[in-house]
Symmetry: C2
Subunit: 477 residues, 2 copies
């Protein structure tokens, strides 16, 4: 059942209250936060509301649960401030992917470089051994028999497994509400084709995932970049204004742990977003690719799970958590969008390869995925924490950095107006790759920003790379 608006406001208000105590130093890192019982008595709320508030704070990385002991303020070095809310232009922009993008794509997976550029986990962390064994078995057992086209939606056994997992976060799906894609890129591409035509305007977070910008550009769509906060996500008033002033065909938002900003909206805000978009009859396309790698105790629920039969097309994939090499993603939507999604799929790739889908289905059914996810989350939480420490100690004073509660990327804003494209070129010479800020904007913004990926996990080499980059950044300007 979706949380009601009023209840949501209560727990978000409580979360804000605790956040204030942490920010002002009333509750310094490592101290115990009032127990659920104490805080609910003090603030005159129910224990349920207090628990929801604490889970949101956990999701945001501000507090940590310690078994048998309660909640504690996280050790993250809050000396570093989060980046300010972005202020992109309030008009649709023709998407022009900057030239530096090609250079980034060329270098992002070069093993000779310190891998801060590429937002996929290292093959070692992904540890696909179990999945690969499922593939080998599928090829031996089912190869000849399954050497056929699947239906356009994809293999039924995989769709069943995906639907089962979705149910855990309250996202009720049948196999026919799902269409298997070639990664999240195809999912986003099909979703946009289903709701927008060339020349249309699509509202997006700013900054946003550069792959989305490439899809918009290829489809001749304009981007309307929305002001977005590294903590709380997209600006509601700006979204409302955008939908009032412009004809917006779709809005694309991250479900949680936004790439590159790291923001996650609480459920109350998600409901507000949904209500606002419903008012303007703008379909939402949500990208939940990082949803499974949150550091909190509970996985954030996607938009689609909050309002059944809302105008939401859900996109995700296994590329960030398990198998970028398998290229299996999916899109979920009901019968209002599915025929157009199928039409777009048939005209794009017809259907995906069978055996990787069978392998994923049997790997998911085996239960190995959850164990793997728990391990990944610990690694990434630790990695980002150590990276923030290294940034704090090496980047110029005044550098701002996001503190996401999931995923594995950090967004940095340098204090002086420098061009991180220059930093990018100099860093490459020193054997370090990262993603300069401009690639995340349709309108050439974020010159002084950069994204660092912790996808390869912490290592002395990564640490050295972050520190060298920080020293280099200090010499710029």
């Amino acid at each position: 059942m979706p949380t009601t608006d009023a209840a949501a406001f209560r727990y978000e208000a409580l979360a804000e209250f605790i956040t204030g105590l942490i920010r002002r130093g009333t509750l310094p890192p490592g101290t115990r936060v009032p127990s659920l019982r104490e805080i609910s008595r003090q603030r005159r709320t129910s224990v349920t509301t207090a628990l929801q508030a604490y889970r949101l704070l956990e999701d945001r990385g501000l507090i940590e649960a310690r078994p048998q002991s309660g909640f504690y303020v996280a050790q993250t070095p809050h000396a570093i401030a989060a980046p300010a809310k972005t202020r992109p232009p309030a008009r649709p922009t023709e998407v022009a992917v900057p030239a530096v993008m090609l250079k980034l794509l060329e270098h992002a997976s070069d093993p000779k470089l310190v891998p801060l550029g590429c937002a996929i986990p290292s093959p070692q962390l992904l540890a696909s051994g179990g999945l690969d064994r499922c593939l080998a078995r599928a090829a031996r057992v089912h190869g000849v028999k399954h050497n056929i086209y699947t239906p356009p939606r994809g293999d039924l056994s995989l769709r069943r497994e995906i639907a089962r997992r979705a149910l855990r976060v309250g996202h009720a799906l049948g196999p026919d509400d799902l269409l298997v894609t070639c990664g999240c890129t195809e999912a986003l591409s099909l979703a946009l084709r289903a709701v927008a035509r060339p020349g249309d305007t699509v509202a997006v977070e700013s900054p946003t995932y550069f792959g989305l910008l490439q899809v918009l550009q290829a489809q001749g769509l304009k981007a309307l970049e929305l002001p977005t906060d590294a903590q709380s996500g997209v600006d509601l008033a700006a979204l409302d204004a955008a939908c009032r002033v412009h004809t917006v065909s779709a809005c694309v938002l991250a479900s949680s742990f936004h790439n590159p900003l790291g923001c996650t909206m609480g459920e109350a805000k998600k409901l507000q977003v949904l209500a606002l978009l419903a008012k303007h009859r703008v379909p939402l396309i949500e990208d939940d690719i990082y949803g499974d790698i949150g550091f909190g105790t509970e996985r954030p629920r996607p938009f689609a799970a909050l309002v059944p039969r809302g105008q939401t097309i859900y996109c995700s994939s296994f590329s960030k958590t398990l198998a970028p090499g398998y290229r299996v993603g999916w899109v979920a939507a009901d019968e209002r969008f599915m025929p157009r999604l199928i039409e777009a799929k048939v005209a794009s790739t017809l259907c995906g390869p069978v055996l990787p889908q069978l392998a994923l289905a049997s790997f998911l059914a085996s239960g190995g995925y959850d164990h793997h996810l728990r391990r990944m989350r610990r690694v990434f939480q630790d990695t980002l924490h150590r990276m923030v420490v290294a940034i704090d100690q090496s980047f110029p004073p005044g550098t701002k950095v996001s503190q996401p509660a999931g995923g594995f990327v950090l967004w940095l804003e340098l204090p002086k107006p420098v061009d991180t494209r220059r930093l990018f070129v100099q860093a490459l010479e020193q054997g370090i790759c990262f993603a300069p800020g401009v690639v995340f904007s349709a309108s050439g913004r974020y010159e002084r920003c950069l994204r660092l990926s912790g996808g390869y996990g912490w290592s002395p080499r990564l640490d050295k790379g972050v520190r060298a980059l920080g020293r280099l950044a200090a010499t710029l300007g």
Copy 2:
């Protein structure tokens, strides 16, 4: 080296001369054709020219080589005439895929139906065992290490193997001229995106592969359907007129063994097509998906192999010959088109799965593919021959049927103006699937035509299905 125009005309003229002798009954089925030495003396040409002419006749299925014995008129029952050259409207048409298409896609792979509808070989004929073993090995040996995104062009080892095979037909390609796709559908889709924008007009054979029509529709492209002959392919004068009268952004043609018509152009005609398109600066997109399953001694050369650095984008895949379930195709083009192809690929699917590509590369390197192809060609030649006999004996008198020299589909034209959509519904009730003619046209033509696939190889069940369909067709109208 490309054949010069004059030489090409000489051998095609000789081929026409022999065709006339066969058609008029001077050389009845089963008789020996004059030897190369005899005919070259009689017609005052070189033995090379005579050999080229005989190979073309072989490609067209009119004569057969018997080892140590010479050339003989093929036994195909020439009592059945080929369909007349088609006469589609000479204007661009908005593509509207007919409703019956969905029904066809739904039923085409239903194992309970006699499989005359689906143009893929049966899994048993495809015999992917060797390839599946390569996949199992790749997963075991390379799984974890290769759990990464490939470059947008795809795995290098596979591109090398594809380039090696292309060289055999004189198509000189480097690995960087190739981009691996998710089947031929993605290849055609990317090729069209690289050269055409929504609203543009694309010239196509008529009838044409319905998957191409779906791609055109999805991309908002108009189809200009060209008159096409079941033997000699597209009408040159009509192509010329189309390019003169309309702004044509691309022309899409089959390299050989056209689906559904079965036509294959000789090299002289291919050169004329290329010259004509070059004159009008219209890029050619060629679909060579059936090229490896010709019944003649020599594989027909694709357009791209005839004129180096022509304005040709080459598309193909392994889906008709080896592994529809693997969804691996490719597009070949030089540096004039490649950047746009890569851009479209990145925005469509980013890249394809790694392990199926590695498996295909090692299967191709092992040499097993050629042996497999030889077997497939024999099976399909035999199947189509038997199907034509069954059609001759069961369909209403006056039914015309194509006689392709490769591939595994037949195109039938019924003598009376009936609607094969009705026949389709009735046939489904009798447990038989086929493809009604209208799905192969953007302008709703070919109501009295149908396509039968021999992809499952001949069997008593298939034979019974063809004959039952013939009797049913005789009752219509």
